[in-house]
């Protein structure tokens, strides 16, 4: 049966048998780096295509359908166009910070890729504090955004970046609390343990009501964290300029644009791992025959299927709802999401202690 862990095992054994261990390790580092950059590029291209097609069908029209069959090369054409554009650095902008900002956002994205399990035994780095690591590193992206707003030497970019920063920092609280509630059930922060604990069913089914509330809050919070509609006031098109990335053009803008879609993929991957079992197939209790059939589908397919489902949900939000005003946005977080998620954490703790889950 096709499985990604076989590929990594074969490469590992081949390298160790031909070279000394240090060189094998360094080669593996380089291979992993190249693989993650490739994954980013492919993901960016296909997610943009997916967004345009989903938007089009919801708006009763066809999306891109001329460049390549069903328009799949449209994003490649757009990226080539962006690369050929002149990358202006505005007068008076802080050159070093201006150039550094998009790279910080991309680097943060790649760092988060490390503990995510794409398939069975196919994880770059399984540390024992996986969830804490994810939470901590995703907070670093705020630095990139504030850097971009400050270094642009433009009052409206700064305003947009400040708003964006405030929004991200507030919604991280609710996202963190929702994640915590699953950790309470699992008892471990390591991603591998969390997935393995869903061997007999996904947490969203096992811990019924609290997990559902947790999941809803998580989805709303990560939509706000990645600055997607309906929470994209900071970069709204028909309002005050385009936010923190107004002054970026050409390749740097392409990096910001790509980084936004990668962020969506990452937070959906985290959501899929925590609530829907990551690469774990759908098992129901101890129905052995059913579970055995489900195991035939490769685990990487399970993982990507769940993540794409959550990504579709986030895109569905974007094309249905209008924007929230900035004060309504912060209102939603501090008055509604935070109290409910704190209460939910209590509820989940009670459920875990009393054993009222499946």
């Amino acid at each position: 049966m096709f499985s990604l862990e076989n590929i990594t095992r074969i490469i590992h054994e081949w390298l160790n048998s031909h070279f000394n261990p240090t060189i094998a390790l360094v080669t593996e580092f380089i291979l992993v780096g190249v693989a993650s950059i490739t994954l980013f590029a492919l993901l960016g291209l296909s997610l943009v295509w997916m967004e345009r097609k989903v938007a089009a069908v919801m708006q009763i029209r066809l999306g891109p359908n001329r460049v390549g069959p069903k328009g799949i090369f449209q994003t490649t054409a757009d990226t080539l166009k962006l690369l050929m554009k002149e990358g202006l650095v505005p007068d008076g902008a802080d050159k070093f910070l201006f150039n550094l900002a998009p790279f910080i956002v991309m680097i943060v994205g790649m760092l988060i890729l490390a503990p995510i399990a794409f398939a069975k035994n196919f994880q770059i780095w399984d540390i024992n504090i996986g969830v804490l690591y994810l939470s901590a590193i995703s907070s670093l992206s705020v630095i990139g955004i504030l850097m971009a707003g400050w270094a642009s030497n433009n009052k409206y970019s700064l305003l947009g970046a400040m708003r964006s920063g405030a929004q991200i920092v507030s919604y991280e609280l609710s996202a963190g609390l929702s994640v915590l509630s699953i950790v309470v059930m699992t008892g471990s922060l390591s991603i591998k343990d969390i997935i393995l604990s869903q061997q007999d069913g996904w947490w969203i089914f096992k811990a019924h009501i609290p997990a559902l509330i947790s999941f809803i809050i998580f989805i709303i919070a990560v939509t706000a964290e990645t600055n997607r509609a309906p929470f994209d006031m900071a970069e709204a098109e028909s309002e005050l300029t385009a936010g923190f990335h107004t002054e970026y053009s050409g390749m740097r803008f392409a990096l910001f644009f790509l980084a936004e879609y990668i962020n969506i993929f990452i937070v959906c991957a985290i959501g899929a791992t925590l609530f829907f079992g990551g690469w774990m197939p759908l098992h129901i209790g101890n129905w052995q025959a059913f579970n055995h059939i489900m195991d035939y589908i490769p685990s990487s397919l399970w993982f990507f299927g769940k993540t794409l489902g959550l990504i579709f949900l986030i895109m569905w939000f974007r094309w249905t709802f209008p924007r929230l005003r900035i004060d309504q946005l912060l209102n939603l977080e501090w008055k509604y999401l935070l109290p409910i998620s704190m209460f939910n954490l209590l509820l989940m703790a009670v459920v875990a202690i009393k054993g009222w889950h499946f």
Binding site: Q59, A229, P230, M233, A236, T241, F321, P322, R325, I326
Partner: protein, 371 residues
């Protein structure tokens, strides 16, 4: 789109909104004085699309000047043409046949629905939801297809002439309109679910841009803007023309005067228009579609005024004639001009995001303001 042009000495910021807009507002240039993020003063600069229509009409005969008015408020072009034809008929004392009157009113109401559909889509797009725009255009497409079969054009239909209408109805007209009405009724529930009932839309529109009843009257607002503040000003009820005194429809009045009230007024007006069309469609009387008039029309010396209710408000056509074949002076009282003057009062003290919502709820068409 927005650039800073200067600071006054008190530390206020002056910025430009427009004249190019991402939404379908047209070329409206607003100069806004901000204090931090709060709006202190809004000054519209007009004239970017002034085409001197009134001066042009002085060299066109009474049959020829009607087509130019289609381009004034291009979303309610039938109603504009209707107003001009009525004014000329008033001057010449022409009796319009019943069949032509029925056709004119049905075309007017269809245009009103099409205009409100486009407003609905554009308003949702201003607030950030891109999907209702396309759904609105699908309905509008049906109406323009009906117009194309009978009048020959889709946007600037030059179909009303002094004395009636230009051509006979297409044989498929009644069937097409029936089909459209059935389709439309089923879509209305969708509009409520997608936009009106949505908590986010309601929060963006409620209590934004409040216009009290006294202010609405003193600024000269008309149409849905005034009716949302409680003013009874529907010209179709107060000064009925053609057969509006024979059809039954309600005048929609709301009292809060905020953007959500204006939104609800227009939505319910669409339903009332469907009601009017349903009443008239079945019994269009037989007869002429155009009264016999002389080849060259000469209005007697004097002044003639006619007011109609367009989708935006009260349009007035004022013709001064010296007895010749061309008018001496024509003046159009446009509804958008007076509605726009109330904008500053509505948004003082609010944030920029609210300005966009309030502007969207006013339903401005800039060629109507600039002529």
């Amino acid at each position: 789109m927005i650039e800073e042009i200067g600071r006054t000495t008190e530390g206020d910021l002056i910025i430009n909104v427009g004249p190019q807009h991402p939404a379908t507002h047209g070329v409206l240039h607003l100069v806004i004085t901000l204090n931090g993020e709060t709006i202190k003063k809004v000054e519209p600069h007009l004239g970017y699309i002034h085409r001197s229509i009134e001066k042009m009409c002085e060299s066109l005969s009474y049959r020829q000047f009607i087509y130019v008015t289609s381009r004034m408020d291009y979303l309610s072009s039938h109603i504009n043409n209707h107003a001009c034809a009525l004014c000329v008929e008033k001057g010449l004392q022409i009796e319009v046949p019943q069949r032509a009157q029925y056709i004119r009113v049905i075309m007017d109401e269809l245009t009103r629905i099409a205009s409100h559909e486009l407003w609905w889509g554009a308003m949702a797009m201003d607030l950030g939801a891109f999907t209702p725009f396309f759904h609105a255009f699908r309905e509008r497409e049906n109406i323009t297809d009906i117009m194309e079969k009978t009048c020959g054009a889709r946007l600037t239909m030059n179909y009303m002439v002094p004395g009636g209408v230009m051509a006979e109805l297409h044989p498929d007209f009644q069937k097409d309109v029936q089909r459209f009405i059935q389709l439309y009724k089923s879509k209305f529930e969708e509009y409520n679910e997608l936009v009106t009932g949505n908590i986010i839309f309601q929060n963006r529109m409620k209590s934004v841009g409040v216009l009290s009843k006294e202010d609405a009257i003193s600024y000269g607002c008309s149409g849905p803007v005034a009716r949302a503040s409680g003013v009874f000003c529907d010209i179709r009820k107060l000064y009925p023309y053609d057969i509006y005194n024979k059809v039954e429809f309600e005048e929609i009045i709301e009292t809060e005067g905020d953007s959500f009230a204006r939104y609800l007024v227009r939505l319910k007006e669409m339903q009332q228009s469907i009601h009017i069309i349903e009443q008239l469609l079945g019994d269009i009387p037989e007869g002429d579609f155009q009264a016999k008039t002389k080849a060259v029309l000469k209005l007697p010396k004097g002044e003639f005024y006619q007011r109609v209710e367009t989708a935006r408000g009260e349009l007035g056509v004022y013709i001064v004639s010296e007895g010749g074949t061309t008018p001496y002076r024509i003046k159009f009282r446009s509804p958008g001009f007076s509605n726009l003057s109330a904008l500053e009062h509505m948004v003082k003290g609010l944030k920029i995001g609210d300005l966009i919502a309030a502007m969207g709820s006013l339903d401005l068409v800039i060629p109507d303001i600039d002529r």
